[in-house]
């Protein structure tokens, strides 16, 4: 093919290279290089990584963040699946477009504003405590905010919609007659769910899980605004290194560790399910 040398080819290729090399490839190589350096010292060292493993607060936060991210992903699946099924298979099609649009609004409004909303709802003088106290059920506010509970609620809220949408898009193509046939042959709801609906929507579940996991593990706002002093999140450690203590090398090591663990987990999910990465985006 001679066409690849045509000017039009280069007209398309050049901006793409200017995007991918200086903004994706080189910065991440830079990140790796910087993580092996220490301020005011020549050559490479693994000091930053040693620091990570020697300080309990760092690696414990890291382990906790990964474990919570896996937990929130599972929780999001449990919450999301019935909603996705309802919107595609149960509700009358008349309302389905409207309800689907409702799902998108919190996404487009943005995480910060919705997290702020939860802060107002859960606070000591928030809606829930105000309501419970005014009906006399409790006489001092329940500690709903600034703990792991509020943090997980916020993480779930901001990520669950990204689980629902990919599952909906696979369920849409599931032929109702498969379910009808199974039902006619005497299968219970649970059997239909387990043997037909879930296997069929697996690609959507995998995509949703990857997106949710990435969003949660890389999130900052929910842990920072809704979490308590003890609900440290690994991204907060990275922020601190870059924006408070200005130890960019240590921060780079943390960043690289986060990137490594999240890529590894995504890779395992993709390998186990045999799905392609590009499917995740669609």
């Amino acid at each position: 093919m001679k066409r690849r040398f045509s000017p039009t080819f280069w007209l398309l290729m050049l901006p793409v290279l200017l995007w991918l090399l200086p903004l994706i490839l080189i910065p991440h190589i830079d990140l790796l290089i910087n993580s092996f350096k220490v301020e005011g010292q020549e050559g490479f060292t693994i000091q930053n990584y040693l620091d990570f493993f020697q300080n309990e607060i760092y690696w414990l936060t890291f382990v906790k963040t990964v474990a919570y991210a896996v937990g929130v992903t599972l929780l999001a699946f449990v919450v999301a699946f019935p909603v996705a099924f309802y919107l595609t298979k149960v509700v009358s099609p008349k309302y389905s477009a409207f309800l689907t649009m409702m799902l998108l609004i919190p996404i487009w409004v943005g995480e910060l504003i919705t997290i702020y909303g939860w802060m107002i709802i859960l606070g000591d003088h928030g809606i829930i405590n105000h309501f419970l106290m005014s009906i006399g059920l409790i006489d001092k506010p329940l500690p709903l905010l600034y703990n792991d509970f509020s943090m997980i609620l916020g993480l779930l809220y901001m990520s669950v919609l990204f689980m629902i949408i990919p599952i909906m898009s696979t369920l849409e193509s599931l032929d109702d007659s498969l379910i009808e046939a199974a039902s006619d042959l005497g299968a219970s709801k649970w059997t239909i769910l387990r043997r037909i609906v879930i296997p069929y929507s697996m690609p959507g579940i995998i995509s949703g899980s990857i997106i949710v996991f990435m969003l949660v593990i890389g999130d900052y706002l929910a842990p920072n605004i809704l979490g308590g002093k003890s609900s440290l999140w690994f991204t907060e450690q990275i922020y601190n290194q870059f924006l408070s203590t200005f130890n960019w090398n240590e921060g780079s090591a943390f960043g690289f560790l986060l990137l490594a663990i999240s890529s590894a987990i995504v890779w395992v999910i993709l390998k186990l399910s045999g799905q392609k990465l590009e499917r995740v985006g669609s």
Binding site: H28, N34, K89, T114, T235, F242, L259
Partner: protein
């Protein structure tokens, strides 16, 4: 279980209750924010002390409404500019990438494509810090070599645009590719056989076909930019975008003016959503 099958009343109502609770969970924060934007109180909490528009229009020592809050207005303006710049750049490059990856064959395509969709699985924080690292490295090197300080590479407006564009183009690529795969290449071949150049074929045949995807690509990236925090926070300079400004106020000095600006955004987004819904319904 599905529309066409009979269900027990218990199952049906239980399921409906769950869905109702879920949608309550979904709208509750938006609703609460919006209502408290009109509360005649200096604190963002209940009790309800009556209706007021102070948090939009007041300009007294005690209360500064949104439309007199210079810093907030400025940050909204910066966010709009950032969004337009980032979405335009993402649209141009993402579309070029889609044409390249869907229609062309070349060596190293697999690797480049991997780089192009990698931002889907790179946390925004990581993109932010790695772009900050290399931009400050490059800026330092240029200044050392030439004595000229390339301002657009230090934290500020253009670095935010570049940082957000690094993943914005990925979304455009995916949206445009999806439509481009439905494109019948015979149309373009017809244009070429009628002696159009390849560029003319793209301009007059392919791009018009892609138009709906281009519009949604622009809208999506604009909205992503407008609400982005994780990447932006590392690249921002002395003029913050709206999420950065809101975040520091939430942390340090919150008054119901934050609810006023949030309400405005919720209202605009909801209006756009329902107009889109209405247009789609009419078209059908």
């Amino acid at each position: 279980m599905i529309r066409s099958l009979p269900n027990s009343a218990l199952y049906k109502n239980g399921y409906r209750l769950y869905i109702a609770l879920f949608f309550l969970f979904l709208v509750l924060p938006l609703l609460v924010i919006s209502i408290l934007a009109f509360n005649d109180s200096n604190f963002i909490s209940l009790p309800w002390k009556g209706f007021t528009l102070d948090w939009f229009f007041a300009n007294t020592d005690e209360r500064t409404g949104l439309f007199h809050d210079e810093d907030l207005l400025q940050s909204i303006w910066i966010s709009l500019l950032t969004g337009v710049a980032m979405a335009s750049l993402s649209l141009a490059v993402g579309t070029a990438a889609a044409l390249l990856f869907v229609q062309e064959k070349f060596r190293g395509k697999g690797f480049l494509y991997f780089l192009a969709i990698a931002p889907l699985i790179i946390p925004g924080v990581i993109l932010g810090i790695s772009i900050l690292l290399s931009s400050s490295f490059v800026a330092g090197a240029i200044e050392k070599a030439t004595g000229w300080d390339p301002e657009f590479l230090s934290p500020g407006f253009w670095l935010v645009v570049l940082g957000q564009f690094s993943f914005g183009a990925t979304y455009v690529l995916l949206i445009v590719s999806a439509r481009l795969k439905k494109f019948d290449p015979i149309l373009e071949e017809a244009a070429l056989s009628l002696r159009a150049t390849r560029l003319e074929a793209i301009r007059y045949v392919t791009l018009p076909f892609l138009k709906p995807a281009l519009i949604s690509g622009f809208a999506v990236t604009f909205l992503i930019s407008f609400s982005n925090f994780n990447t932006t926070v590392f690249l921002v300079g002395s003029d913050p975008t709206l999420p950065i400004e809101l975040f520091s106020r939430i942390k340090f000095s919150s008054t119901p003016v934050l609810n006023a600006v949030s309400f405005l955004i919720v209202a605009v987004i909801s209006a756009i959503a329902f107009v889109t819904l209405w247009i789609n319904r009419k078209r059908r």
